[in-house]
């Protein structure tokens, strides 16, 4: 396996000391495309927050890289979550990706702003980047948010249900694009979703959360008729 970017070692995750999922041990390797799959309420968001270091694990350890340096996360949330009251353009939103490098009382330089324009171009969002963000379509917003994540110069691109509220054509186009930048830039991708066909097509490694259990493996290992039948039997039961 290539270099580990994040390693979860016998992790239990949850809130207020109460574990909702336990026994999680897995590694996200540099350059991999990992999907966290599971229905609503299975603990996907809790696992993601723990991975991002936003929430401490109940027990166990999250290790970053070989030297313990926390990677830069390029976080792509659901486009639906943003309050439409904010009069921000797509460029304003994408520019936020540089704020991690630009300290307090400083402002993004010309070079940083040019880099954001490049990210918007890479995600084919430059045409509508000067329009008001809240008035864009779901797919357009997601392209802006991916450009924002790329503007962080990420070690890991984290997509939290990026296709929620996005139509089928735009979903297909978005995931094709993410797969493309994963290959071209050798970018590590972590995708959180409940969309099984998307995972099957694009991900290499899968972390499947179901009824308080966690199964992980490659697409070939988990998407066998036996495993699928086991998972769906569990769902029916």
């Amino acid at each position: 396996m290539s270099n580990p970017l994040i390693t979860l070692d016998h992790l239990a995750i949850g809130y207020d000391g109460q574990a909702v999922l336990s026994g999680i041990s897995l590694t996200i390797a540099c350059g991999s495309f990992t999907a966290i799959l599971g229905a609503n309420g299975t603990g996907k968001s809790t696992l993601l927050k723990t991975l991002l270091g936003l929430q401490p694990p109940v027990t166990g350890v999250v290790r970053f890289g070989a030297e313990g340096v926390k990677p830069v996360f390029g976080y792509v949330p659901q486009a639906l979550q943003f309050d439409p009251l904010y009069p921000l353009t797509g460029f304003d939103v994408a520019l936020m990706g540089t704020f991690g490098r630009v300290g307090p009382a400083r402002f993004p330089s010309r070079a940083e702003r040019d880099f954001v324009r490049e990210c918007l171009h890479a995600t084919a969002a430059d045409e509508f980047a000067d329009q008001t963000f809240s008035q864009l379509s779901g797919g357009q917003k997601q392209r802006i948010l991916i450009a924002r994540a790329l503007a962080t110069r990420p070690d890991l691109l984290v997509l939290d249900e990026p296709t929620a509220g996005v139509d089928v054509a735009a979903t297909h186009s978005l995931l094709e694009f993410i797969s493309q930048i994963h290959v071209e830039r050798k970018l590590t991708v972590l995708l959180v979703t409940h969309d099984l066909p998307l995972v099957r097509k694009h991900a290499q490694q899968i972390v499947w959360l179901h009824n308080g259990t966690v199964q992980s493996g490659t697409v070939a290992e988990l998407f066998t008729p036996e495993k699928m039948s086991e998972m769906f039997d569990l769902e029916v039961g």
């Binding site: 976080y75 949330p77 309050d83 009251l85 904010y86 921000l88 936020m96 704020f99 991690g100 402002f107």
Partner: protein, 287 residues
Amino acid sequence: METLKEIFSSGFLLRNSVYTSVLVGFACPLVGVFLVLRRLVFLGVALPQISSTGVAVALSLPVWLGLTVNSAEEHAHTLAFAGSTGFTLAAILVLALLERRGRGSAEGRLGTAYVVATALSILLLSKNRVAEAGWLDLLKGEIITISNFDLALTAGALAGVLVMLGLFSKELLLVSFDRTMAATLGKNVLLWDAVLYLLIGLTVSVAVLSVGPLIAFGFLLIPVLTAHLFARNLKGFVILASLLGGVSSFLGFWLAYQWDWPVGPTDVVLIGAVYTLAFAGKKIIGR
């Protein structure tokens, strides 16, 4: 026009009142932008009232301590400033802690804080006629007697708020717009929330002390809502809101002086009328 010439003349007696009113008009919308965008408008109602309760406590303090009237008057402004700021910041701290625990209704807490603060002010001052008169002037927005010291204090505090807002605008925007993103970028979300609340608290307490809770709330909210109707980007939104506040406060003062009306209510009715016209105009043009 004669009135306008008089206001601009060097010997105008109420010069400090004009300056203070305009300063508050420019500054309040700058923090009001965050109250509106973070949907904390109720906080904008409750804080000025809590701040004025702080003033009521401060004005009552000399009586409780048995100080003479002269001595009390000498220190009245300092006491009122301490009371206003102390109560506002304490209220923000308590409300933020309750918000963080995430239990109960935030609107309910703010509504309760508002009504209890108002009732408490009236109770405190009911046995203190001198303080009651001062507090009622404040409540009505009678901006008449503003000393050079008061003006300097207001200008200094509001300039400080302006500088802080300018320097930390990107952090304050990021934690307001996308807290998770801010956290993944290593920003201390709680710290920046505290900075924002501190700036809101300081602006509100200075504004309440200078022009009263009515105008403070009016300028925190109405110019911001008016500017939001036309905002296409954040910078334009903030600048337009601040300009509307500053210009309306000057025009309100002019009208009030011309017709011998109380300044505070005149200012608020004027910016309310501007908002109504802008809203109607936008609807008609948008058809």
